[in-house]
Symmetry: C2
Subunit: 542 residues, 2 copies
C-alpha cells in the first residue's frame, strides 16, 4: 500500500524557484572578478538562470550533458549552476589549483561539452585547449567591455551569449535521481575520480545541513561562502543558502585577509565557511590591526582539522562561535558539525575547546560506524578508534565510469579512509588516515596523536610518525623530527618527554632527526614519500 502524497521530484532548480518566490529581494553580493562589488537578488538570479537554461537548450544541451566551470564564487557562477540544472545538464566544477595535466584529464574524462570560465583562468584554458577536443565552446564569465583578446576560436563573453535569450523558458522536469553535478577527488594515487551528485542528493543534503544544529541558515543570516564552489560541491552552500533565503556574499577571486575582512565588515556577514588556511590569513591580518568582527556570529571551519588555537582566537578575541566541521567530496560534502548539544553546551574555556577539537555529530540522514580490520563495529566510548564508514542518501555509491570499482561494504557503507573514535553523544573525532595508522600486535596507534605530542617538545619544529615493519609486532612507530634552529633533540629526551602523555605501548621505538620532512603542494606531510625514504630502516630492537 502506497501513500497518497503528491509526486514532487526533488529537483535542484526548485530551490532557486523557492528563493525567487519567497525571498526574491534578498541580495546576492559579489566581489566581481573584474573588480567592483556587484549586487543582485534571488529573483534576478532566477531570471538570468532561466536565460542560461534557454540558451543551453538552444545549443542542444540535453539531460545528462556535462558542462565544466572554472570559476570563483560570484553571482554568475551561481546563475550558471541553476541554468545548467534547469535543463538537466550536469555542473562539473573543475578545481583550477590542480596540475594542468590533471585538469585536462578530468575535463576529457567527464566529457565536458562546454566550459564556463572566469577571466582568471582563460589563459589556462587557452593553454589546454588543444588537449580538450570535446569542448565545443568556452564561455567567459564577463561582459564585452571586459572580454580580452583570445586565440580561442570558440570563446564568447557570457553577457553577450546570455543576451541572445529572452528568458521565456520553463525548467525541464525529470527523475530526481538524475545526475546534477560532478566533482573529482584528487586521490593521492592514480587519476582523480569523479563523484556524481544527483538532484535528490543535493536537495536532501541541503535540507539536512540546514537543520538548526548544523549550518542552521535562516533568512536573517548573511552567509559568505569563502570555500570555493569548485571545492567539494562548494560545501553545498549554493543550495542551502537560497533554500532558506539567506543573503549570500560571494568573495570572488580575493581570499586574502584584508579582502575577506572588508566583506565581513561592509556586508555585515553573520556566518561564513572556509578551510583553516583562509582563517589563518584573516586572523593574521586582524592581529596587526584594531579591527573587530562585530557582525560575525559563527564561522564554519572544515576541509582540515581546525587547530585549537584558531578556535580559541575566534571565540575569545572576537566572540565568534566556531563550528568545526568534517566532510568529503564523496559526502556532498557535509558529514559532521561540532555544534554543542545540551551535554556540552554549558562547557567553557579549555573544557569547551577539548570538545571543539572533535569534528562533531551527524544530522539525520548520515549514519556513521567505526569498524576494526574484521569489520566488527567498535564502541562509541570516545577512545576506541576504527575505520570510519558512512551511509546516507547524499553519499557516493560509486565513482564516474566505475573507476575504483566497488566502494561500499556489504551493509552499504562507504569507507572514508579516516580512522576515528566516536563518543557516547555521537561526537566523532578523526585520529588518523587509515593508510597511516600503525598496527602494532593487532592494536592501532594513531600517528597524528603522536605527532601532536612530539611537536610540543621545545626542540622540535616538525614531527611525523610512520609505521615501520617489526618482526614481533608487525609494525611499530618511528618518530621523524626536524629540529628547531640551534636545538638538538635526542631519542631519549623525546621518548622521556612523551612517557607520561601516551600509553606505554604507543611510545615510538626510535626517533630519527632529519633536515626536512616531505610535503604535498598544499602543505600536508607526504607520508607515502616518507615511508619510501625509510623502507630500509630497521629498529635497533628488531
Amino acid at each position: 500500500m502506497l501513500g497518497l502524497m503528491q509526486d514532487w521530484p526533488l529537483l535542484c532548480h526548485r530551490i532557486i524557484d523557492h528563493a525567487a518566490e519567497m525571498h526574491g529581494n534578498r541580495e546576492v553580493v559579489s566581489r566581481s572578478v573584474e573588480g567592483p562589488i556587484h549586487r543582485t537578488d534571488y529573483r534576478t538570479i532566477r531570471e538570468r538562470s532561466l536565460k542560461v537554461a534557454q540558451r543551453l537548450d538552444r545549443m542542444g544541451v540535453r539531460v545528462g550533458d556535462r558542462i565544466g566551470t572554472l570559476a570563483w564564487n560570484t553571482w554568475r557562477h551561481l546563475e550558471v549552476w541553476y541554468g545548467l540544472l534547469g535543463v538537466g545538464a550536469v555542473y562539473h566544477t573543475v578545481n583550477p589549483r590542480l596540475f594542468p595535466d590533471q585538469i585536462a584529464y578530468i575535463v576529457n574524462h567527464a566529457e565536458d561539452r562546454l566550459m564556463f570560465t572566469d577571466l582568471t583562468f582563460l589563459p589556462l584554458v587557452e593553454k589546454l585547449a588543444e588537449h580538450l577536443p570535446l569542448l565545443e565552446k568556452v564561455i567567459v564569465l564577463t561582459d564585452a567591455a571586459n572580454m580580452p583578446e583570445t586565440g580561442l576560436a570558440n570563446a564568447v563573453a557570457y553577457e553577450d551569449w546570455l543576451a541572445e535569450a529572452d528568458g521565456d523558458f520553463a525548467w525541464k522536469t525529470f527523475d530526481e535521481n538524475t545526475a546534477a553535478g560532478m566533482c573529482y577527488t584528487s586521490g593521492t594515487t592514480g587519476h582523480p575520480k569523479g563523484v556524481v551528485y544527483s538532484h535528490r542528493s543535493n536537495v536532501l543534503h541541503s535540507m539536512a545541513v540546514n537543520q538548526p544544529d548544523m549550518l542552521g541558515l535562516s533568512s536573517r543570516d548573511i552567509m559568505m561562502p569563502v570555500v570555493p564552489m569548485f571545492h567539494a560541491n562548494g560545501w553545498s552552500i549554493a543550495f542551502s543558502a537560497p533554500m532558506t533565503g539567506t543573503t549570500m556574499v560571494m568573495p570572488g577571486a580575493k581570499m586574502d585577509g584584508a579582502s575577506i575582512y572588508e566583506l565581513l565588515d561592509t556586508e555585515k556577514v553573520s556566518v561564513t565557511a572556509a578551510v583553516p588556511t583562509v582563517w589563518l590569513m584573516l586572523l593574521q591580518f586582524l592581529d596587526g590591526s584594531d579591527h573587530q568582527l562585530p557582525h560575525l556570529e559563527r564561522v564554519i571551519i572544515g576541509g582540515a582539522a581546525c587547530p585549537r588555537a584558531m578556535t580559541a582566537a575566534f571565540q575569545k578575541k572576537y566572540d565568534v562561535d566556531v563550528l568545526h566541521a568534517w566532510g568529503m567530496t564523496e559526502m556532498s560534502p557535509l558529514g559532521t558539525i561540532c555544534s554543542l548539544k545540551p551535554e556540552y553546551a554549558g562547557l567553557e574555556g579549555d573544557a569547551r575547546l577539548d570538545i571543539q577539537e572533535k569534528q562533531g555529530h551527524a544530522p539525520f540522514s548520515i549514519e556513521m560506524k567505526i569498524t576494526d580490520d574484521y569489520d566488527i563495529e567498535q564502541d562509541w566510548d570516545g577512545k576506541t578508534f576504527g575505520r570510519l564508514k558512512v551511509r546516507g542518501p547524499a553519499i557516493a555509491k560509486a565513482y564516474f565510469k566505475g573507476e575504483g570499482g566497488e566502494i561500499l561494504d556489504d551493509a552499504g557503507y562507504f569507507d572514508t579512509g579516516d580512522v576515528a573514535h566516536i563518543d557516547p553523544y555521537g561526537y566523532m573525532q578523526i585520529t588518523d588516515r587509515a593508510k597511516d595508522v600503525i598496527k602494532s600486535g593487532g592494536e592501532w596507534i594513531s600517528t597524528i596523536d603522536l605527532e601532536n605530542i612530539a611537536v610540543g617538545h621545545p626542540d622540535v619544529a616538525e614531527a611525523a610518525v610512520i609505521g615501520v615493519a617489526h618482526p614481533k609486532w608487525d609494525e611499530r612507530p618511528l618518530l621523524v623530527v626536524v629540529a628547531k634552529d640551534g636545538c638538538t633533540p635526542t631519542r631519549d629526551g623525546l621518548i622521556d618527554y612523551m612517557q607520561d602523555k601516551v600509553a606505554k605501548w604507543w611510545l615510538p621505538n626510535d626517533v630519527v632527526v632529519v633536515d626536512e620532512i616531505p610535503h604535498t603542494a598544499t602543505g600536508k606531510i607526504q607520508k607515502t614519500t616518507l615511508r619510501e625514504q625509510f623502507k630500509d630502516y630497521t629498529f635497533p630492537d628488531a
Copy 2:
C-alpha cells in the same frame, strides 16, 4: 545519466534510529494517563519500539496493514507509532472527539486490524466493539496493575503484550513511498475522508519544518506538543522533534491551563504548539495568578486563526514569541509559519501584530498560488485574494479508496478550500473559506473581513455575513448580528459604522438582528445552516 549516490530510502523509523544514536539520552517526559509523570529517553523509546515491531510481526502484521490508535500524547503512543512504522504498518490516528458513529465509520473504512487505546477511551471502544468486526485485538496502553475489568474478549494490557518480545528484531525496509500513516478529515459534508501519508512525505515534511525559519527545533529545545497526535498528523512533531534530538514533553490527557502551566514550568519547556483554544485556557489561568513563563521562548499557534489579542498577550505580558501557523490534514500538516523575515524583523508594536495576523510564509517544498474562478493566478500584492492552492511532496494527491475523486488541478495543485491573499514577501493570509466568499458582479468579498469589522461596533455581540442572491450582482452580503444585552443595533447605524472601513461596494446591502447565530460543536459559525435559514430572504433593493 543518473547520479551515483547511495540508495537510502526515506523511512520514518530511521528518525528514531538517529535519535537513539545521536541523542540517546535526551528525555521524553510524559504525564501518564494513569497520573504520575513518566520519564524515558530516545534510546529506550527505540528499544521498546523494536519490541512493538517484533510483537506485531509475530501477530502477522504486514506492510500496509492499518492499525488504529485512540490515544493521548504519551511515550507509549510514540513507541507504538515507531513500532508500527518499523514493520511497514500504517498508524491510523482516530480522533476520539468525533461522534461515535463517525469513529466506527472510519475504523471500518480504514480496515484497522488492531486498536491501541488509552484507558480514557476504553469505554468508547467497548461501546463500539460490536460495530467493529475487523478489529482482531484491542491493546490498552497501560500495565497489568492499571488494567480495568473489561467485557472485551480481545483486550490486553500493552505492557503485558510487549513483555512477550525481547527486542531482537530488525526494522523492515521497503520503498519510501509506502504508506506510513492515516488521518481522516472531518469534512462538513459527507463522510470523513482518509489522508494517507507516506514514509517519504513524513520525512521530507519534518526536514522542511525544522528549517530555522519554520519550527526550527534543535537539540537544545524542549518541545511540548499539546496538539494531540490524533490531530492532523500530530503536526508532525513526533517526527520533527526526534529528528533533531529535541527533548519532548508529552501532556497526556490533561490540557487545562493549570496542567499545561505546570509542565511548562517544571520541565522548562522552550517551545510548544497547540490550537488557540488551549492557549486561551492557559492565558486565563495565568491571568488569575502571579505566574510567568520564564523558560518558554516561542509558541506555535495554528488550527484556527490566532486572535491578535492572544499574540499581544504572549509577547507583551510573557515575552514569548508567537509563531502563527497554518496547515491542513492534507498537508502533513504544515503549510506556512509567520516567522519574521528581514523585511519585517524590525517591526514592533501594532505594526508587528499586523504582520502576525498573517498565517505566514512557506518553507522549501511547499508551493502556493492563488487563483480566480477561471484558474488565473493572482498577484502577490497582499490585497488581491483568490483560492489558495498548494503543491509539494507532503501534500495529498487523493483520499483513501478514491473518495472525493480527483482533487488536483491540471498543474497538480491541491485546492485548500481557503481564500487568501499573499504579500510580496510571500506572507499568506486567509480571508475566507471558498464556500463562504461572496461573489458580487464577478468580484469577491470576504465575509470574515466584514464580520471582524461588524463585531467592533459597540452594540454587536456576534456577527455573521452570508451571500444572498441578488438579481443584478448575483450575490450581495447580508449581515446577521446578535445584539449585546440591552443594545439595539440598527441597519443604518451599522452601515454607517462600516462606511469608512471597507470599500463602498463591500458594504452589506442589509442587516438583520437575530437572537442567536447557529454554531458547530467546536464553536464555529455554521454558515450552511445560516444560509438555509435565509434562503427565502430578499434584499430590499432586489
